[in-house]
Symmetry: C2
Subunit: 267 residues, 2 copies
């Protein structure tokens, strides 16, 4: 091979390598920008709250539709009530009856199997300590706490178990994919001072955002926190974070829109 050809070959090789490297740097920068531009959305919830379940499932669905980074914040509703001086809803008879019907109807519309009324009146302090332990322990943050929370909601709101019983926590943990050994470890961890303090601090964090009940959603937009209470402010929340609300079943609705769009053309 003549020297000139070798030089040309090396030059081409260099150009290709440089181009790829430059492309890689650009792509990494793009990914970094994308992750930076994702809006952090914190969901404060307690398993005792059925409206929290509705909000949880809707946000899980929109996590893949909106440009948001969803953070789960297991908190203690009793502590939020005490800290804000608020009362339990449902103490007024008419309001309680309304909530039962409202939950049944929303459950059908949202496709979340909430099945009121609540079977037991016990608090969820131990339950939320268990969820906090899961959130603290897991390495890939958010995956296990999501699964465990969902199973616990099913236990209390669908199959009406006494979720304050350790057997119910174990069942939820196993269904969520944990091993019996891991569940055992988490049950022990959930009784530690570290976890008790963690649940207290997350509950206090909600109170610092001026929460008075759960679910409580905090969106960080342009360096400012905006808060939304309940499971009925998603349309407003979408508007505030620059996203679009298309109902409680975003993937289904969006694909339906794509399918139904062509007929407009022939009109």
């Amino acid at each position: 091979m003549p020297v000139n050809a070798i030089i040309i070959y090396c030059n081409i090789l260099n150009t290709v390598v440089y181009t790829f490297s430059f492309g890689f740097v650009l792509y990494s920068y793009y990914l970094l920008q994308m992750s930076n531009s994702r809006k952090v959305v914190k969901l404060f919830y307690d398993i005792i709250s059925p409206y929290s379940w509705l909000a949880f499932e809707v946000l899980c669905r929109y996590r893949n539709v909106w440009n948001i980074d969803l953070k789960f914040k297991p908190a203690f509703l009793g502590g939020v009530f005490r800290g804000s001086g608020n009362q339990e809803p449902g103490l007024v008879q008419n309001k309680f009856s309304y909530m039962v019907t409202d939950l049944k109807q929303l459950s059908e519309l949202f496709g979340v199997p909430v099945n009121p009324p609540l079977p037991c009146k016990k608090g969820t302090l131990n339950v939320m300590r268990f969820v906090t332990a899961v959130a603290e322990k897991e390495e890939e943050r958010g995956v296990l706490v999501e699964r465990v929370s969902r199973e616990l909601w099913k236990n209390i709101w669908s199959t009406h178990q006494d979720i304050t019983h350790p057997a119910s926590l174990t069942e939820a943990g196993l269904k969520a994919g944990l091993s019996p050994h891991e569940v055992e470890e988490l049950l022990i961890l959930s009784k530690s001072q570290q976890i008790k303090d963690k649940l207290k601090s997350v509950t206090q964090e909600a109170l610092d955002y001026q929460s008075f009940g759960l679910p409580f959603i905090v969106c960080h937009v342009n360096g400012k926190a905006e808060v939304f209470f309940g499971s009925d402010r998603f349309e407003l929340m979408a508007h505030r974070i620059g996203e679009k609300w298309v109902g409680p079943h975003p993937v289904k609705t969006l694909s339906e829109n794509v399918i139904t769009a062509p007929p407009y053309a022939s009109e």
Copy 2:
């Protein structure tokens, strides 16, 4: 003209007249069926309630989009609270702060100029008696009560007037298109026992539907009453009455959809 020709001419004329008459009967029957099939939607509201204003404007917009027969039901919020044993919202500091922000944001999203906080703490008994008098007096039911209610909401929630003062009621009446004489008559009528009893009975009607606050919306579907509290259940309500929720600006949204539909075709 030969006799035969006259007979034929008369026969044609008869046929035309019969056809038109038959068509007219059919069309009248269709209109009757349409009006029968329209779902009655009752809105119980008090001018003191800003969330009632949001619900009122949204329902006024959807009245021309959904197949509903909207009935205005001016009621007394104080009576609903007393009768149901419920407390005023906003007694909890965090909840009050939330409501102020929530109202500002919803006001922008809904395009209704609610401008919190409420400037005066006086009750609206006289105001709601005036609105009740308008509702009772007017022949074309619903037109004037809508206009008067809107003007009163503007007075209390946009320009922060003391609407318990008769001058504020007069101003709202005049702006709504009543003559000074009519306003005078209605102010006198609003103090009558008949009107006091009417407001009481409408408030009791809301309580009979198990209301615990306002706005309270009652939809009559297939002979059954379904109730919705607040200004955040329109998506659910639409689902229950077989209509579609397209956000707080239906006409704008629907026309936008028609405009934006064609680009899908070229994809």
